[in-house]
Amino acid sequence: MTNPQVAGAIETLNQGVRAVPSLRQGIGFTLVLAMLGASGRVVVPVVIQQAIDHGLHRSIQGSAQSVDVSLVIKLCLGAAIYLIIASVAQRTAVSRLGQRSESALYDLRVQ
């Protein structure tokens, strides 16, 4: 069964796009950037889990000296680089989306 709330939201979006077709311009690239930005939020918990499972797990079995710090550093360095890219992507996506929305609002007001 169609969820009326979801259908309503989609319909609302469609109405917006129908009223102001310019909303569609560059939306694909903005979505890609937004997804890249959102993935930045996932990367940290994943890195923490990987660091504990593969970098620190041996300490659980009593061998504290055998913690693999270099693996933890490598994982965190990779995550840091990814985080920088994701942040730039997120910033660009929000900015593009905001500018497009304001332009659409301008078009609607003038119409």
Binding site: G37, G40, R41, V44, P45, V47, I48, A51, I52, G55, L56, S59, I60, Q61, G62, A64, Q65, V67, V69, V72, I73, L75, C76, A79, A80, L83, I84, S87, V88, Q90, R91, T92, V94, S95, G98, Q99, E102, S103, L105, Y106, R109, V110
Partner: protein, 579 residues
């Protein structure tokens, strides 16, 4: 628009805003804050519980291969209990924060509307309707936007305090590194607000201007269409809309940078903590359980830290909206000119009054005149001589600049040159919310020669639409006249009210008023001989001088300008001559 404040000024403004908003419904807000506190304590408690579960339940399972059923059950029970209490805290926080926000919006709107209603007509003439609507709507909404996230933001501060103690006591070095993120985020907020303030101020101000322009454009739609000025209006609105757009885009650019930084800083700190924690675990100064608890506690804070940033990012917009509302609320209520009238007797009289728009634009000085009860006085003069301003001063719509007015304490009814009809039934338009019988209504409509309303589809209950769309100018004037007549006023002032009626209907209306409202004193701006002929006395206005009250014959004999005007009424200029 105000100047942009310093950091301390900004902080003071923010606390004033929050204090002012919370003061409307402190009870609801306090309950929401209590819910937020429960949430905060449970959140921090869950990280301590996690440490206990890892170190005392899970690790012994690996180290000793022992499994304690009772401890596992206690752990599960504690986790579930804590989660349940935390969920209750969230529900209380959210529902009461929402209620506090919308009830505050309602209270603010009521206050704005009260201020608008209290002000006399002269104040309203200086305001733009669209701008007032923006203040009562968009600005109120913007003002309270910061309220809903406030309890959550407060709970985050509580969590930060508890967590900071917990983090530092777990591991001083790592704890200090983790808590360093808090001042960084506060610094980011201050920087963001300092940069974005002016754009939100401009955007809110321009929204008011746009709203006023749109309202004006809709009001004058017939003029715009008649003169084919649609493109000109579109261009005018486009210019204002582009100013709104530019200001908002500038704010969005800053906000996108701020939001990205809000995500980046805590996440990067978290990564650094993992690296630092690995070294601490390797040196044996921290157990894996302690590190996991540490990271978990910080991770729990990351999302709220972001949200507190979002909440604070609403502050400039709320501040801009609230400032605009405050400007309106704190503007002094102008004395209603009618409250300055004295009510010594039943005779309406002017005593050494100066009448005009302001002290630099005085039309008539030192005017003394009285209007005998039950008389009809015609106000006569050339176009633009100040007739309307004079009668509006008599009605207390425009204040007199000096002198005084005395008159009966009973109601004065005024019928404007431009009749305004509300988008409701004829009955509502005439009765204006007061209780009148059907007989009274019929009586008033008869005097105003507005019997035509009985032929409308639903008679007096027909909805006639905003500004009486569908009715002719004369019909609208007659309904507006019935509105004044039904009050049985002691003083009835007509500002060229019958100008849209044909001469026969005008005479009928005036005769009916004279015969069926015998106790009313009528003062009427007259531009037709028929009204002048029926008047008991005439006041003639010419070049800043008021002649009379006198009779028509007296003025014809004594005043050349009056005689000229009467001749012009009787034999208007040859149309070809005019061309």
């Amino acid at each position: 628009m105000h100047g942009h404040p310093t950091s301390s000024g900004r902080f003071r403004r923010a606390t004033t805003l929050i204090r002012s908003l919370v003061a409307y419904h402190p009870g609801l807000f306090a309950i929401s804050m209590a819910g937020a506190a429960v949430f905060a304590v449970c959140t921090v408690g869950s990280s301590w519980l996690l440490r206990w579960i890892i170190d005392d339940v899970i690790i012994p399972r690996f180290d000793n291969d022992s499994f304690s059923v009772s401890q596992t059950l206690i752990a599960v029970g504690l986790l579930m209990g804590l989660s349940l209490i935390r969920a209750c805290g969230v529900i209380i926080r959210r529902s009461f924060a929402g209620r506090a926000q919308w009830r505050t919006a309602q209270s603010l709107t009521d206050e704005v509307v009260d201020v608008i209603v209290q002000q006399p007509p002269q104040w309203h003439r200086q305001q733009s309707t669209g701008d007032l609507l923006t203040r009562a709507g968009v600005d109120v909404e913007a003002s309270v936007a910061v309220m809903a996230p406030l309890p959550y933001a407060s709970s985050v501060i509580l969590m930060m305090a508890i967590a900071a103690v917990g983090l530092i006591s777990s591991d001083t070095a790592l704890g200090l590194a983790a808590t360093a993120v808090f001042p960084i985020l506060i610094g980011l907020n201050v920087l963001y607000q300092r940069r974005v303030d002016k754009w939100f101020d401009i955007a809110q101000g321009e929204l008011g201007v746009l709203s006023a322009a749109v309202h004006e454009s809709f009001e004058g739609v017939t003029v715009v269409k008649a003169f084919g000025a649609e493109n000109r209006e579109t261009e005018r609105l486009a210019i204002i809309a582009s100013r709104v757009q530019s200001a908002r885009i500038a704010a969005i650019r800053l906000r996108s940078l701020f939001e990205a930084a809000l995500d980046f800083v805590p996440n990067m700190t978290n990564i650094c903590l993992v690296v630092g924690g690995a070294f601490r675990v390797r040196s044996g100064e921290l157990s894996v359980g302690e590190l996991a608890s540490f990271i978990y506690m910080f991770t729990l804070l990351v999302f709220p830290l972001r949200l507190i940033g979002y909440a604070l990012s609403e502050m400039p917009r709320s501040q801009a909206g609230f400032d605009r509302i405050q400007n309106l609320r704190l503007s002094p209520v102008i004395n209603d000119p009618r409250s300055l009238f004295t009510h010594d007797d039943d005779v309406l009289a002017l005593h050494s009054a100066s009448i005009g728009y302001d002290v630099n634009n005085i039309l008539f000085e030192n005017v003394s005149a009285s209007f005998a009860p039950q008389s009809i006085t015609a106000i006569v003069g050339y176009t633009g001589c100040g007739k309307s301003t004079f009668v509006q001063s008599l009605a207390g719509i425009t204040p007199i600049l000096s002198g005084s007015i005395s008159g009966p304490s009973r109601l004065t009814s005024f019928v404007f040159q431009e009749p305004f009809l509300f988008g409701t039934s004829v009955r509502d338009n005439v009765c204006m919310g007061r209780e009148f019988s059907d007989d009274d209504l019929r009586w008033a409509l008869e005097i105003a020669e507005a019997d035509f309303v009985h032929e409308l589809p639903q008679g007096v209950d027909t909805i006639i639409g905003e500004r009486g769309v569908g009715l002719s100018g004369g019909q609208r004037q007659r309904i507006a006249l019935a509105r004044a007549i039904i009050q049985r006023p002691k003083i009835l002032i007509l500002d060229d009210t019958t100008s849209a009626l044909d001469p026969n209907t005008e005479v009928k209306v005036l005769r009916s008023i004279k015969s069926r409202l015998p106790n009313s004193t009528v003062i009427a701006v007259a531009s037709r001989p028929s009204l002048i002929a029926m008047s008991d006395q005439i006041m003639f206005f010419d070049q800043g001088v008021i002649y009379g009250p006198a009779t028509h014959i007296e003025l014809l004999v004594q005043n050349v300008a009056y005689r000229g005007l009467m001749q012009a009424y009787e034999s208007p200029a040859d149309p070809e001559e005019k061309l």
